[in-house]
Amino acid sequence: MENRIPPFLLRPPAEPTEQGRGKVRVSFVDRGVRHAAKVVSDAYVQWELASREGLLQKIDARVKLFFLLSFVVVVSLKREIGAETALGGFIFLLAAVTRVPFAVYCRRVFFFGFLFGFLVALPSSLNVITPGRIIIPLLTFPEAYEAGGYHLSWHLPRQIGITEEGMRGVLLLTLRVVNSLALSFLVLFTTPLPEIIRGLKVLKVPDVFIVMLTLSYKYIFLFAQTVEEVYRAKKSRLAGGLKGSSGREWVAGRMAFLFRKTQMRCEDVYKAMLGRGFSDEVRISGFRKLSSRDWMAGAAFAVAGIFFLLL
């Protein structure tokens, strides 16, 4: 039997990107869809992981918040590569014994650590920024150059290369960034966000601020889905590309639409709050008493924190 399906339907679907001159360009609609989808998927992943059973998941959010804040400060105070390495070892060991998906956790920590720690700091290993013993020579000029004065001076030595002192600085900074990220993600992977926000109460953060943070997070999640839907609706109606100026106008119009939508939602929420008897006073209650396990974990974290501080 003859195939009656029109040929254009038999063709594979078009790529979500447009071809530029020799390179692939991702349209702003695709970027928007990806960004919005990432916010929603990150929130789902966080909820999923935080609800698993594991060593840290069983501990009260307030204790974990204390652990996070004290250890982040300890990480920022350490000045030696050895101490930072030991701290990193301790954090990753904790992550391994807690039931977090270790590969996903490491990928996230090292990706951001590499980006914000190593890559950003790498040029500082050059002798132009950190003078010292050159271990990898890169360039040699006929003579040295000097410009500017005081703290805004530029000195270009005759030979440019990576110094030993510079590499030590890059390593220290990278370890510090990696350790801080490892701590943040460890607590995030083992604690539902509303619990983390409620836990801020132990830091004497005003209740009204905590409620606002919780509400904003819920709004963000809700409206991130709206943004994704808006972008997808636009994408599905685009036969070709969207010109720069009309694209900018469209984005501005959608931002304004979001503003109106958030305002309307705000009114609805306020009416609902009044309907439930809200009397202009925000009070967070319902914290359970810390169990002996929480106290033991808190004590263990305190001892470990003091140990690493003195290391």
Binding site: R31, D42, F209, V251, R254, L258, R260, D280
Partner: protein
Amino acid sequence: MHVPDGYLSPQTYVPLYGVSFVFWSIALRKMKRELSSRSTPYLAMAAAFSFLIQMLNIPIPGGTTGHAVGAGITALLLGPWTAVIAVSMVLIIQAIVFGDGGITAIGANCFNMAVVMPFVSYWVFRLVRGKATGERRLSPAAFLAGYTGLVAAAVVTAVEFGIQPLIATGADGRPLYAPYPLSIALPTMALEHLLLFGIVEGVVTMLLLKYFLKHEPGIVYTVKEA
């Protein structure tokens, strides 16, 4: 522009937490006085709006895309003190949930993007606009407000980075935190924001304000105030 953990020394991030705390306290008191019980959902809404602005990519001439911080337009639409709380909440959520910006650096990030940026944008807008009400004056005022606000925040961030090699060094003189001196941090941050990101921020601020002035001028703080 989000400062990660590890780049600022305690002698920088602790005072910046203090400064941000002062601004949060004043802003919360002002909000409660002006909006009463409505302030809680209102500020949460403003925060969600600031966050969402950062999700929308805008095409820039030259074939690339970028997103705005949104602190400037939030200040123009809702007022600078509302912007302080709204943008701060976004930055706190970004630091805790998405690892975007450090936890020790929350004070610094809030000072740069939730204090410096909204106030600079707001005052630049007021100065450039003068007493004019027409679009011919308001549009450039909005562009400059967004542009200058972001560049000012970038310059303050660059100074915070640039002073690290001066105030926190090891026994051998090696920088322990952000390694780049002012002579590198300042021109690098200033140039990329003057030539690229500032333009995106300015365009978003101008287009959004233009849209609101055309369709709903009554809800724009800077128009209501005039």
